[in-house]
Symmetry: D2
């Protein structure tokens, strides 16, 4: 067997089911059934034949493994599937199977169906991720913590603002995915995109076919124009990337030396009894590393030859399936991580306090500029900040400020103490949280 | 110097200008100027100071090379740019420069401005590409040629249908790019995304800033949420891929053994006097190969640490710039190739004819099914098709059909001759061309 | 199930077996068994316990699917495997299982074992590919054909030289793969690379462990230094790329309008009875598109955090497995294609002849330079070449040369006819074939 | 201008010079000069002509910008370069320029020369990186610190062992690069790889040409077999990845909440006066993100058409150049970071101590197994480890162990205290450092 040992680590149940071989096979059968229905409606094939075809198009009637083995000769699984489907039928029904279609019509439509079904699962996890982020943003609106840039303390933020950033990113990634999903049209073009066997009936059959499948119709068949697939892949990788960003922040905050969050579900070790590994963050990050490479496959597959390419199409199937699995796995992992997240506001406050006021150094430049001029203000504050960060320093920045004659003269002690308070240096944090929550509300 | 020897091969003048170091520098200065204006309007800085800043923000006041050298120490060019800008000013104006912003605010906004300016150039080429495709689709509606799948003859198509496929793909790629362009918001967040130095005025300054630049406002600052950049890159690579698809078809059709199209502009050789290299197709294809890899960079850069990452952001600048250059170069190359394309309808007819009727073999299965049943119909036609393709074959498929007793009996000679006519086996080609042209009309 | 419907299309039996879940599981068990043996030899665990462990380490004792499901909690399959292994044992043997190792020791060693076993399969196909190329190079040493650059006729070559190029590329790719294989060391470092539980015995246990597995020993554990894996992936993708180059040439030569080669094994169509699709070439090309993206995953995974990373390692497993499958599939496909290749020397000669002498135009510049000077020589020949390639041209290049007064005067008719003969314009073709065959001989 | 504003941020002077447009142009001229010399030695051209050509082949005789503009028409800069070179010469010398070569011969050879010259610069930085790592490994052999896996404390290591890991990775990456460098052969094949214009003299000219350039000779021309370029790219990205791994560890250790290392050179901020950004680590990490994508370009370029491809070759030039710049930049950045590194052994000890003994929890399972059996031993230790890590815990792990009746009974207090000592739980750390240093010694 394949894909049973590693794939479940990166992705859970529902998305795995939606992307299994059986799911693909059923989707191909759904396409064949929709084709038969559409052709019967238009009168291209008989109603009775169509009914028999539809009846036969159930995954339990076929053996995935055998079809896979037989797929090698012709290079795709539809050829043996059509043969197997015909062998279950007789007479008109047998002859009516797959009429006017080409393998790629069925497989592309199946890819689209599989994607849309998997996206429903991913959607659900993304909705929960955004809801959880919104909850964190709301609850931690005033939980002050260290803003960090390049892994160094910058200025104070709130944990609510951080969660609001995750929220907006998740919403945007989700909307991007939804947009590409809408563009996932049905495929029906026949051998070279002319629907030649259907004579004049091509467009009307294609319309009915798409309608039966609940899919949009393309302007023209897209056998050799793979942008919707590349766009899907890119949107999936973007979701995964957005999840990995959250995962990365969480894993960094959970470092015990920082200790600002804890995961409820942690992974053990095969040898260390104390281990509390951030497994959810780990799989989301792994998914992002993989996805970035897989999108390149789909972009490479845009360069097709003539009406159907020599290889580019064959490169897509597994890449698309993996991107679905990875996005689903990452969304589920982050959902789970956020649902079980313990936020340690005290640790956040303590770490912020441990900067000794450096996180508000910027503010003193602003405050001193009026009196000292910008250049001198920066120079004074930079000198104190540098002194405070010397490894042998004995005083922290706040104390150096409090005892700096120029600053004391310029601002006075009351103002100095006010300025040293990180809670009053949050700028638009609250306004931004508000906007993020409003956006969430608008799309919920 | 750098970028003067190879870059002009892949891309021409306007897009190069729009992506030059000077273009980036002016865009950074535009951001600083817009910030000053916005802050003056809100009263954060003085009107006179703002006017002086705006006046100073012209690229000719600065030396790109020196700024680049000074950029290394802090890891970005905004730090030395702000210093250089201040050194040109005095008093309040000097102190008011860059107030409340961080380097990334300026550089991200500049990236967005550069992208939008370059996109205007690319747009122009894409509009011409779609117009040229539409012209070909219209003119060659009835130019019958061989449809080819996996580089082998499939069924007849028209050259108009092929061009219609290019047309729809170009339109879709163009629309996708336009959508991502709209999402390219201004950036203004200050040190860690709180606009702390601006106190309560953050949102209103940010709004004015975006308005001055003609950019949309983001929900929250996007320092560490890079989806719009990844989406831009993906859309650019999709444009390039769509162009490379056209280029590939052209290069294949221009093989002299096929000879169905010729390029007006061909490249010579440093040694062969007869060479007529498809240079335009070559550079479009090269651009696609490069773009597929570069998007991976931007997807990799989605995984950011906290409020600003340790490396991911720095990886974007040149990747984005190259993707703009490559998309612009590919669009210009394909525009030029299509504008100078000579279509040889006679060669198309001759190549189609040389298949000896194989391209309509599919049709005979359909026609014979009524009489012989599908299985027997396929079996008979496959036998003749196989015989005709034997290297030692003496008769072509059409003749084998004409002399096959089963087929003659089933269909009669008149019907056989009708079925052998490729012009009557074009299915929905015309309808699809019509739809493509209507789509083009709708977006023009 | 997963991987049964599509994977067999791109890769055949032996490499699939070597990369199955069971193959990975057995490799993990081989690592555990080797560890037990090594530790018993050094006296870290008892000989009897080791014997029981070794006895239990057979894949049929375990259920891949259950292990995969249990792997999610801890993020890797070794944790549940160790538990399952322990549950089959009692007493000292149970306690001795996995002693001193960490999950990654077992899984990395398993990855190396799987890779080496799969490489043996790939080796076999590559040896056949090189032998087949050598055969073609030898047999077609004097089969003259059109050399083509940018898909346009350049100068004459022999099909033997083309095959010699494939041969050298295949040999180099094969050697590159063999080199990276040698660097695939065993992994044994314990929890954080110190082998702490083994006290002083670490190095001697590690040495015995590697020896039992037939693997080289690394200088230090490589939990967080993944270059050998990236190098393996890159070497595999290079093999796949070398195969796809051959596949591309074959697919292009097999275009019926060119018709210089034919495939014995061709793929049919689900609708077109005449189709002879180059399936082998198609899957090799698809494999190359996918591999280029997958290597990016492994390069991305080089950036690890501390003693074991948060995601990078987890990203490797399936990427490595796919790269093995794709290289194996591509090598097998090209082997099969070459084994069944029909070369049509007459078609090669005819296509060359159809260039009307353009392929030797370069030669006339050389020949005329002595008399006319280089500039004038190029100018004359370029004019004739251009005239001959005008779509309305009535005379071919050879005839224009024969009737060009300047050329006739300069060279005389006898020399002109000699120069027009492509067989005498093959330069070092034969010498290069000889060198390629000698290289093949040296490595066989 | 291009490449002056951002490129210097990621890479410093020497590697920039080695990869400038002028460096490429001089390398092309070196190739033309070597060709002239070689042909004169063999008597293909006159000695005097060759001398004049050699004399003319100096970069200062040519204008990069003009050549770049003229390169577009033919798709490569060699065509205008040959024209410009001819226009500087007269008579025989003019006619003898570039005789028998094709553009790709010159440009491929130039790419190889540029790469080798840039590699010399990169080598120098890598040697310093390894020397610095070796120094750290030696000096910090006994500096005990927390080993961290998945960003959580694992078991104790020494900082010397961490540096030894960097050392071995750097050496391996360096050796890998050196190997690929050796395979960078000269290129000389003429129009389609036959050296037709040189008649019988091809091999001997090619040999002399390679010798003049100090390059190895390939078995056959490699116009359409690009593995050496892909291997070079992969080796460069591996170097960059190895550097980024060190950079990542450093950036994580420099987080002030961890504070185990400090950088001497830190980057400021355009707004925050206290900022000490790890700029060197940042640029090395950015370089790795970009490199992973760029290698995909070179792997994509392996799939070439016939004797010279339609785009794949054109995709290589800038990708190769960037990979050189990025590897050079990353090596220089890490060299600088290591040279200025301050290691805070006290902070390392303090962080280790702050784990409260958890880092030796693994050891207690081992120690208790003899008395309690493995299962019970694990169970007891896991319980205490879990208790100690509860956010509301009042006692640390060490204290829980000291007061756990089962453990006290089993081991006694003396042994417990010994086991709690991290310095005695370093396993093979020292032996591994020794091996790493010996390896370094062997390659130095």
């Amino acid at each position: 067997v394949r894909g049973e040992l590693f794939t479940p680590i990166l992705a859970g149940g529902a998305v795995l089911d939606a992307t299994s071989d059986e799911a693909w096979l059923q989707a191909m059968l759904d396409a064949e059934a929709a084709l038969a229905r559409a052709e019967a409606e238009v009168g291209v094939i008989g109603a009775e034949a169509a009914a028999q075809i539809v009846e036969a198009c159930r995954v339990e009637n076929f053996d995935v493994t055998i079809l896979g083995q037989r797929a090698r000769a012709g290079g795709n699984p539809v050829i043996p599937l059509v043969a197997a489907l015909r062998s279950r039928l007789a007479g008109d029904a047998r002859d009516a199977v797959h009429f006017g279609a080409t393998s790629q019509d069925i497989l592309d439509t199946a890819m689209v169906l599989v994607a849309r079904r998997a996206l429903a699962v991913i959607d659900d996890d993304l909705v929960h991720v955004t809801d959880l982020c919104a909850g964190l943003a709301r609850r931690h609106r005033t939980t002050v913590m260290t803003g960090r840039t390049l892994l160094q303390p910058a200025v104070p933020i709130t944990f609510g603002l951080k969660a609001a950033g995750w929220l907006v990113a998740s919403i945007e990634a989700h909307l991007g995915l939804a947009e590409t999903s809408l563009r996932l049209s049905a495929q029906l073009g026949g051998a070279a995109g002319t629907l030649a066997l259907l004579g004049e009936d091509g467009p009307v059959v294609a319309e009915a076919y798409a309608a039966h499948l609940g899919l949009s119709e393309p302007v023209v068949p897209w056998h050799a124009s793979r942008q919707r697939i590349a766009a899907l892949g890119s949107a999936l990788a973007t979701v995964t990337g957005a999840m990995a960003k959250i995962a990365t922040d969480l894993a960094l905050l959970a470092q015990p030396e920082i200790g600002e969050v804890r995961f409820r579900a942690v992974g053990g070790s095969s040898t260390m009894p104390h281990k509390r590994n951030p497994v959810e963050a780990t799989v989301a990050r792994a998914a992002a590393i993989r996805s970035a490479g897989l999108v390149g496959v789909l972009l490479g597959a845009l360069v097709t030859e003539h009406e159907r390419p020599v290889g580019a199409w064959h490169a897509e199937w597994e890449a698309v399936n993996e991107l679905l699995v990875l996005a689903g796995g990452a969304a589920a992992a982050v959902r789970s991580a956020l649902a079980g997240l313990e936020v340690d506001a005290a640790a956040m406050a303590a770490n912020l306090d441990a900067t000794g006021g450096l996180v508000v150094a910027e503010r003193f430049v602003g405050a001193l500029t009026a009196t000292l001029g910008g250049e001198e203000a920066r120079s004074v504050v930079e000198r104190l900040a540098s002194e405070a960060q010397d490894p042998t320093a004995e005083a922290e920045f706040a104390d150096l400020v409090r005892t700096c004659p120029e600053i004391v003269t310029a601002l006075g002690m009351v103002e100095i103490e006010r300025l040293l308070e990180p809670d009053t240096y949050l700028g638009s944090s609250d306004a931004f949280i508000e906007r993020a929550l409003a956006t969430h509300h608008a799309v919920s």
